[in-house]
């Protein structure tokens, strides 16, 4: 062993000579490929079964090829409105959470102030709390706002109860803030303050400096945070299920409520559209970034 270690300085790059090393050499990539296959398998099933000409109520067994689902993507009671609600909630909550979270991120990275530890803790806690607990506690607050004395007198009637789109928005903005803060902070951490000083030395005021120097530099971080918030919001089920009430459906809530009685093709079609759209966006941004360089 000892001698081989000496005569192989660039060991990672060269093909192994001893059989035991050959196993290690090929086993790891093979294992990785299998594991990634495991991760992608359900997605492949989802896309494949969006073309399934199934019979009965459940799209479970492969019966043949059809384009019906793709030609009629919203052809199911309540699906269209649910998708609309999902997109609406995700858009609005992303805008609010991104603004609120970016402001916190700016405060945390560029200023010294008292209570920083407490603020960091408050940002971390929602990420460490299981969704079911967050959703449940929000639900108790919303219900309390209608019946329980201190809240009942403060909260305007009908604002937080009955539950509806507004309570889903409140919840989504809440759980998204922390993720935005963390993402924006990561971008701001490597920020070169001398660029701002240079702008100010050249006579720009704070406002101009912020919009012409700071903002363009941190914008990729803000955009990444917004994309993360949007995807967390549009996919959220556990919290939304607790705070949406019985009349408002988002897409995941609709899927859950229908899957006990039927599994229509359209679930796979909408899922595939979202997946392919997201992959397309990532591919596009990669190409644009590669071009810029």
């Amino acid at each position: 062993m000892a001698t081989t270690a000496i005569e192989r300085p660039a060991l990672a790059l060269r093909a192994p000579r001893r059989p035991i090393h050959a196993v290690a050499h090929y086993a790891l990539p093979a294992f990785t490929i299998v594991a990634i296959g495991y991760l992608l398998l359900p997605i492949a099933v989802m896309i494949l079964f969006s073309f399934n000409d199934y019979s009965g109520k459940f799209n479970f067994a492969w019966r043949g090829f059809t384009l019906y689902g793709w030609l009629h993507p919203f052809d199911w009671q309540g699906l269209g409105p649910a998708v609309q609600t999902s997109v609406f909630v995700a858009t609005i909550s992303t805008v609010f959470a991104t603004i609120l979270g970016t402001l916190i991120g700016l405060a945390l990275t560029r200023y010294q102030f008292r209570g920083r530890g407490a603020i960091n803790g408050l940002i971390f806690l929602p990420m460490a709390t299981p969704e079911i607990v967050m959703g449940a506690s929000l639900l108790t607050l919303f219900v309390a706002s209608a019946v329980q004395p201190p809240f009942k007198d403060v909260v305007p009637r009908g604002l937080l109860y009955p539950l509806g789109v507004q309570t889903i928005l409140v919840a989504h903005i809440m759980f998204n803030i922390s993720y935005v803060v963390v993402t924006v902070k990561a971008r701001l951490a490597g920020f070169d303050r001398r660029l701002e000083e240079a702008a100010m030395d050249l006579g720009a005021n704070e406002w101009t400096t912020f919009w012409r120097v700071t903002f363009p530099l941190i914008f990729p971080g803000i955009l990444a945070a917004a994309l993360l918030a949007f995807s967390l919001s549009i996919d959220d089920f556990i919290i939304t299920n607790l705070v949406s009430g019985s009349t408002t459906n988002t897409f995941p809530i609709w899927v859950y409520s229908i899957q006990k009685n039927a599994l229509p093709l359209q679930i796979n079609v909408i899922g595939s559209i979202v997946f392919l759209g997201a992959v397309g966006l990532v591919a596009l941004s990669t190409v644009i970034q590669a071009r810029r360089r």
Binding site: L100, L103, A107, A136, L141, A144, M174, F237, P252, V255
Partner: protein
Amino acid sequence: MTATTGDFGAPMRTHGRGWRQRIGRATPYLLLAPGILWLLIFFVVPSVQMFLTSVSTGSVDSGFKLTFSSKAYETAFTRFPRQLTNSLVYGGLATVLTFLIGFPVAYTIAFRGGRYKNLLLFLVIAPFFTSFLIRTISWKILLNDTGPVIGPLKDAGLVPESFGLLYTPLAVVAGITYNFLPFMVLPLYVALEKIDPRLIEAAKDLYASNIGAFRRVTFPLALPGVFAGSILTFIPALGDWVNAELLGNTQTKMIGNVIQDRFIGQGDYPVAAALSFILMAGILVAVSLYARFLGTEQLTG
């Protein structure tokens, strides 16, 4: 307490400095205020309210009275021990499994990924681009008794006709493992990627075997990633109820199923709130023990 804003633009303009400085000192608080207020009102207040509900008695219709009764906690422990155990066992098993699968994957991507690094990472997070519910439903298609996994095995006579995977504890653990695997791989990758390969080479130059170098150098340096990955997997796994609901049976219900059902189905808020608090307390204890065990103080990695 000296605000870094103090020197910000100060040499440029001398007029109105007092006014400016006062604004400057308030700036961080003004930036923090809206977001922090939102978190206080919609995260801290509800948590306190939920704790108060767990020690109250009453119903949704008549309102809850704060009686500081521990009845809800007694009910939680005596009526749902099975669900509490299921959560711990399934969540723990899934975390161990994600680690066993995730570590070799993260290691391979970090050290052997080469020019495919970004592509491989992208494939690892690709499941996030599909709805969590739809992915779990896909597992129902894959695992059902006549599906593409079991069907061929039965046709080949490798498993008995009565064999089934769907609606078993195994399916639940597999589902949770699947859903949280990327949460394990990403922090492990970040930790492994940061390791300077020269450290490992140095260990080998000093006559460490491959395994010795891994055990004494690579793995200890990857511990922050192990810690972050386990936390990111264990917490949502413990609180999950969707996998148990869709892939399991009545015996595999987890604590999340009960909380969900007590809140929405039964309107039994005190017991549901007590269960939520037990879950949170369990997580806090597990995380702090784990942090002490690994000797990592950084929670966020």
